[in-house]
């Protein structure tokens, strides 16, 4: 048992760092607000990585994966966090891609995987509905067979970044008489199909990231069914449990703590830097301690994954603690800037000399 990096891993880190420094688009460095980004901004790094062969690192090598060890993937995410890169979105790379290469047929793999690898095709996820949130199995969207097509009707919601999507993967009820989890199918939908309508949901931070997606008599060829009809629940669960690495956001949170320390060193309180205030500093230390615990838990989980252990309760820990830590980090950053937390859009500006 040890925490040291081998010389090969150090060399890998150097290679990755140099590649990011040379190739990451300059205009996207330390990008702030996501809603100001264009479709091309979102895809820029993805496309560069696609050409390099690094866009779908965790996939099996036959579909474009890199064959990196968990440690290499950890180094990769650390280096990207360090450079605050805009990473490939998860909908294709981490969600539908693994479902297609695991359960899809040869035609589906050939048709859909290359676009995910290259970053040419944008995917969105059609799971939640107004009446089906955490109780996903109560979903009501229907797909009714009509010759060589399914006719899809229903409403999905919280469809993240669907405004840019070319394709979506949708859970639809194909057998209305079956029990809740049965009778659901996993269907790929071309978002330009007639009857697909995407409406924005404005969020609390003023941003536009999620949507309502309405499907009205949308005709989808039956070859877009993934796996077997009525077995979609199995694939949906596979997708949710599949991607364990990175869900904790450890590398980004570590970078966030560094930024928090920089801000708190520049803010003053009681005639001294805020970071010298013990009450504030102890909250930062407590956060760092919890983050250190999470980091080792993630590494243990990745090591277990490499040893062939299936996903256990620790993947839920990664999600829960990772999210809580991100929330506390944001909250502490808000506390650190004091009254400059109030200005909408860009409270942390050069005006107060804090950043």
């Amino acid at each position: 048992m040890n925490l040291e990096f081998t010389p090969e891993e150090q060399a890998f880190r150097d290679e990755v760092r140099a590649f990011i420094a040379e190739n990451y688009p300059k205009h996207l460095a330390d990008f702030g607000m996501r809603e100001d980004m264009s479709r091309e901004d979102f895809l820029a790094w993805h496309k560069i990585l696609g050409k390099k062969g690094w866009s779908v690192a965790a996939w099996p090598t036959e579909y474009g994966g890199t064959g990196w060890t968990p440690t290499q993937r950890y180094i990769w995410s650390e280096e990207n966090a360090r450079a605050s890169t805009v990473m490939p979105l998860p909908f294709g790379v981490s969600m539908v891609g693994p479902v297609i290469y695991t359960f899809g047929n040869a035609e589906q793999k050939a048709r859909h995987l290359p676009g995910i690898v290259s970053g040419e095709v944008w995917w969105c996820q059609g799971y939640s509905e107004p009446g089906a949130g955490s109780d996903l199995a109560s979903l009501k969207t229907t797909a009714v067979r009509d010759g060589d097509h399914y006719i899809i009707n229903g409403q999905k919601t919280w469809t993240t970044l669907a405004q840019h999507a070319d394709w979506g993967f949708f859970l639809c009820r194909t057998d209305p008489t079956a029990k809740a989890q049965e009778g659901i199918s996993f269907i790929l939908v071309d978002m330009t199909s007639p009857g697909v309508e995407v409406k924005p949901i404005k969020l609390l931070d003023g941003g536009y990231e999620v949507n309502e997606t309405w499907l009205t008599d949308v005709r989808v060829p039956v070859e877009n069914l993934v796996g077997q009809e009525n077995k979609g629940w199995t694939y949906a669960k596979f997708l949710l449990a599949h991607e364990r690495s990175g869900i904790a956001g450890v590398a980004r949170s570590k970078r966030g703590v560094e930024k928090l320390r920089e801000i708190a060193a520049n803010e003053s309180y009681d005639g001294a830097p805020l970071i010298k205030d013990f009450d504030f500093a102890r909250k930062v230390s407590q956060l760092e301690i919890d983050l250190a615990a999470l980091e080792i838990t993630e590494l243990r989980t990745l090591a277990g994954e490499q040893a062939g252990k299936g996903p256990g309760p620790e993947s839920s820990i990664l999600k829960i603690k990772g999210t809580e830590i991100q929330q506390r980090l944001t909250e502490l950053t808000l506390e650190a800037v004091g009254t400059y937390g109030a200005p909408y859009h860009g409270g942390i500006s050069n005006d107060n000399g804090s950043n």
Binding site: E288, D290, A292
Partner: protein, 376 residues
């Protein structure tokens, strides 16, 4: 980066697990604690036979060449059975001082006895007014010829009633709380001028208040350099913290498992209480805290050989995180056991007591959070 245990470590774990399961059942432990001696020297002899007491010493010193990870494996198994025998004071603390600061002659004299189980040590460092500051010493060792004369009072010296030897910290120079001027000595407990007041601890062990009155210390009793003992004390106590964190992890694992099992057996309103979501959430929080504590214990253990600042930050992080987890898990386990949780009969209360006392050993959560802040 590697999170696997070696085959040898797996064998040590299995052997100890068997010993704890077969020889450390609840009734036997209870009787030993209530007995005059308060511990089981025959278990100590078995640990020597199994090679456990010699594990962390180099082969050159008569040991088996193990390291911090081996100590972690051992301590976790001890924690699962709430083993009371003085492995930490003898092997981790005294052994640590001898390994890191001892002369060839001191190693020769003492390590063989530790490995064989014939020498038992206690570590007399705390004082009634010193709290967690190893330099806040009223105990003094004044130069007297080639040796010293020791006077003072050491508090809550764990395992002292069973000990043949003491490791004692004392001020040989400087002012109270100065970093410089702290020295470490190894002496026989039956030296003239030592008296003790022995008592039981809440968590089933024995300890003493130890009084030194003009105790003559020979020149060869000094460990390390005179007046420069503090860095050595910090290193050894950091190793001890990693060890007791592993022990706490073992205890937390069992306390959580016992609680989950109890919630499946215990019925109220016609159903197992474990079917209530309000209790399920609390047990999930216990499990999460346990897993995070294990991670921090790994971190501290693997950083013991890093540079000083990195080591201290990792060890303090562990003492904070494991301390918080121990408090949460100990208390929740008792709550979910209901009235049975506060009876002497149920094992869970004894896990609670050990996990509660753990916090103040070698500095509590607040103290180590402060040290973590200071090293940021």
């Amino acid at each position: 980066m590697d999170f696997n245990f070696t085959e040898e470590q797996g064998m040590v774990r299995d052997g100890l697990s068997r010993l704890v399961r077969e020889q450390y059942d609840w009734e036997t432990r209870r009787k030993a604690i209530a007995s005059g001696a308060g511990w089981r020297p025959e278990v100590w002899a078995q640990l020597a036979e199994l090679g456990i007491l010699g594990m962390p010493f180099s082969e050159a010193d008569g040991g088996f060449g193990g390291g911090a990870v081996d100590a972690m494996v051992i301590m976790e198994e001890f924690g699962k059975g709430l083993v009371i025998e003085p492995f930490v004071p003898t092997v981790v603390c005294a052994g640590g001082f001898l390994k890191h600061g001892g002369t060839a002659a001191q190693k020769e004299e003492h390590i063989g006895g530790i490995v064989a189980g014939s020498a038992v040590f206690a570590f007399a460092y705390a004082e009634p007014k010193g709290r967690f500051d190893y330099a806040d010493l009223e105990t003094t060792a004044k130069k007297d010829g080639a040796g010293w004369v020791l006077n003072g009072h050491k508090a809550v010296v764990i395992g002292a009633p069973w000990a043949s030897h003491l490791i004692v910290t004392a001020r040989t120079g400087g002012e109270r709380r100065d970093r410089a001027g702290v020295s470490v000595f190894v002496i026989a407990k039956d030296s003239a001028g030592i008296t003790t007041r022995d008592y039981e601890t809440v968590d089933g062990r024995r300890a003493s208040e130890v009084y030194f009155e003009n105790v003559a210390i020979p020149a060869d009793a000094l460990i390390g350099v005179e007046g420069e003992g503090l860095a050595l004390i910090e290193l050894v106590t950091d190793e001890a913290i990693a060890a007791i964190c592993a022990e706490a992890c073992g205890a937390m694992k069992v306390a959580h498992a016992m609680t989950v099992e109890y919630s499946r057996q215990r019925k109220q309103f016609g159903v197992p209480i474990g079917s209530f979501q309000v209790l399920q959430h609390r047990m999930v929080d216990m499990y999460t805290a346990y897993e995070q504590a294990v991670s921090l214990t790994y971190l501290a253990t693997l950083r013991l050989s890093s540079d000083e600042v990195e080591r201290k930050r990792a060890v303090s992080a562990a003492k904070v995180g494991v301390g918080q987890a121990a408090r949460l898990i100990g208390q929740e386990a008792v709550q979910i056991h209901g009235g049975n949780g506060v009876t002497d009969e149920y094992a869970i209360g004894h896990f609670f007591k050990r996990l509660t006392i753990f916090d103040a050993e070698f500095g509590n959560v607040d103290h180590h959070l402060k040290r973590h802040v200071a090293l940021a």
